[in-house]
C-alpha cells in the first residue's frame, strides 16, 4: 500500500511538471494567416445570424475578410486596432465577444454567479445530508427487511 501511494505521488508530480512544461511551450509566432483567421473569428458577419466572418461566405463577410487581410498585410495596426476599426465602421454588433462593461458585462458575470451559486448549493446539500443521516436502521426498518427477505425465500 505504501509503495502504491508513492507511485501516485510520483504520477501527480510528473503530470504537473509535464503540464507546466507543455503549457509554456508555444507553437511559435502567429503567421499572418493565423492572425487573419483569429481576427475574423472574433467578428460577426453583419448580415448573418450568429456566424462569424471567418465562417460566413456572405458578401459582407468576404468584404470584411479582405479588409482584415489587407490591414494585417500592411502590418501597421495591432489586432485590437483592427477590431476597433471594423467596430467603428459597422457598429458594436460585429464584435462576437461582448465587451465587459455596462449591461454587456452581465453576459460574463451571470454565468460565474450561477456557477458559484450552484456549487454553493451542492456543497450545502452535501453538508445537510451528512448531518441528517440516520445513524442506524430503526426497528420498523429491520422488520420491513425481514419480511421482504421472508417473502423472497418462500
Amino acid at each position: 500500500m505504501k509503495t502504491r501511494r508513492s507511485v501516485w505521488l510520483a504520477m501527480f508530480l510528473l503530470a504537473g511538471v509535464l503540464l507546466v512544461f507543455g503549457a509554456n511551450r508555444g507553437g511559435g509566432p502567429k503567421t499572418q494567416q493565423e492572425r487573419i483567421d483569429s481576427l475574423t473569428s472574433n467578428l460577426a458577419c453583419p448580415t448573418c445570424s450568429g456566424e462569424s466572418v471567418f465562417e460566413s461566405r456572405a458578401v459582407a463577410a468576404e468584404a470584411i475578410r479582405s479588409e482584415v487581410a489587407r490591414q494585417v498585410a500592411a502590418g501597421l495596426r495591432t489586432d485590437e486596432e483592427i477590431l476597433g476599426f471594423i467596430e467603428q465602421r459597422f457598429g458594436g454588433q460585429v464584435l462576437l465577444v461582448p465587451r465587459a462593461d455596462g449591461l454587456d458585462s452581465l453576459v460574463w458575470a451571470l454565468p460565474v454567479a450561477v456557477a458559484v451559486f450552484s456549487l454553493f448549493m451542492l456543497f450545502s446539500a452535501f453538508a445537510k445530508w451528512r448531518d441528517n443521516r440516520p445513524s442506524a436502521p430503526s426497528n420498523d426498518d429491520e422488520l420491513i427487511v425481514a419480511r421482504a427477505l421472508d417473502e423472497r425465500e418462500s
Binding site: 453583419p46 448580415t47 458578401v59 459582407a60 468576404e62 468584404a63 470584411i64 479582405s66 479588409e67 489587407r70 471594423i86 467603428q88 465602421r89 459597422f90 457598429g91 445537510k128
Partner: protein, 183 residues
C-alpha cells in the same frame, strides 16, 4: 420541509425570469427610422479611391466642393431595382441646379457587365464606381445594399439612409442639409 421551500424558491425564480423575458419582448419599442446611425456621421468621409466601370480614376477627396451622394448598389437586389427610378429623378433635378449634388453608384458584389446592362435598360448616366473586395463598403460599414450616403462639400459625412428610398426622401434630405450648411 426545507427542500420543499427550495422547490418553491427556484420555481418562483424561474417564473419571474421568464415573465421578465416576456415583458422585455412585448414592450420593446420598434425602431423604424429610415435615417440610420453611423459613427461616421459628422466625421470626414473615409478616403476612398477606385475606378469607374469605364476605367477612369475616382477619388472621393477630389469631389470636395460639391455635395456627393453615394448609392451602394447591386443589380440583382430587389429594393435597389425598386428605388432606381427615384435616383434617376433625383439626378435629373440636381443636374438642373448650380449647386446640384453629384450622384455615384458604388457597385456591391456585381460585375461591370450586368451593371452596364442594367443602366442601359433603366437609365442613369452618372458614374458607376467599382469596389474590389468590397473595400469601399467596409470603409462605410455597409453590410446590406441598398444604402445611400450624403457627403457635404467639406467632405464630411452628413447622412446615412439604409434600405429602399421612398419618394422624394433623398431630395428633401439634401435640401435640408444644404440649408443647414449655407446658414
Amino acid at each position: 420541509m426545507k427542500s420543499k421551500n427550495l422547490v418553491k424558491f427556484v420555481s418562483a425564480i424561474v417564473a419571474v425570469v421568464v415573465a421578465m423575458f416576456f415583458v422585455v419582448l412585448l414592450v420593446a419599442e420598434p425602431d423604424t427610422d429610415m435615417v440610420a446611425r453611423s459613427p461616421l456621421l459628422g466625421q470626414p468621409a473615409p478616403a476612398i479611391s477606385s475606378r469607374t466601370i469605364e476605367g477612369d480614376p475616382f477619388a472621393l477627396e477630389r469631389r470636395k466642393g460639391s455635395w456627393v451622394v453615394l448609392n451602394f448598389f447591386n443589380s440583382t437586389c430587389v429594393p435597389c431595382i425598386n428605388e432606381h427610378p427615384l435616383l434617376v429623378d433625383f439626378a435629373d433635378a440636381e443636374s438642373r441646379r448650380p449647386d446640384g449634388a453629384e450622384l455615384y453608384t458604388i457597385i456591391n458584389d456585381d460585375n461591370s457587365e450586368s451593371i452596364r446592362n442594367f443602366f442601359d435598360k433603366n437609365g442613369g448616366d452618372w458614374s458607376k464606381i467599382t469596389d474590389d473586395n468590397g473595400a469601399i463598403a467596409v470603409a462605410f460599414g455597409v453590410a446590406r445594399v441598398p444604402e445611400t450616403w450624403i457627403i457635404d462639400p467639406n467632405g464630411v459625412v452628413r447622412l446615412r439612409i439604409t434600405g429602399e428610398l421612398t419618394e422624394g426622401l433623398l431630395g428633401r434630405q439634401v435640401d435640408l442639409l444644404r440649408e443647414d450648411f449655407s446658414s
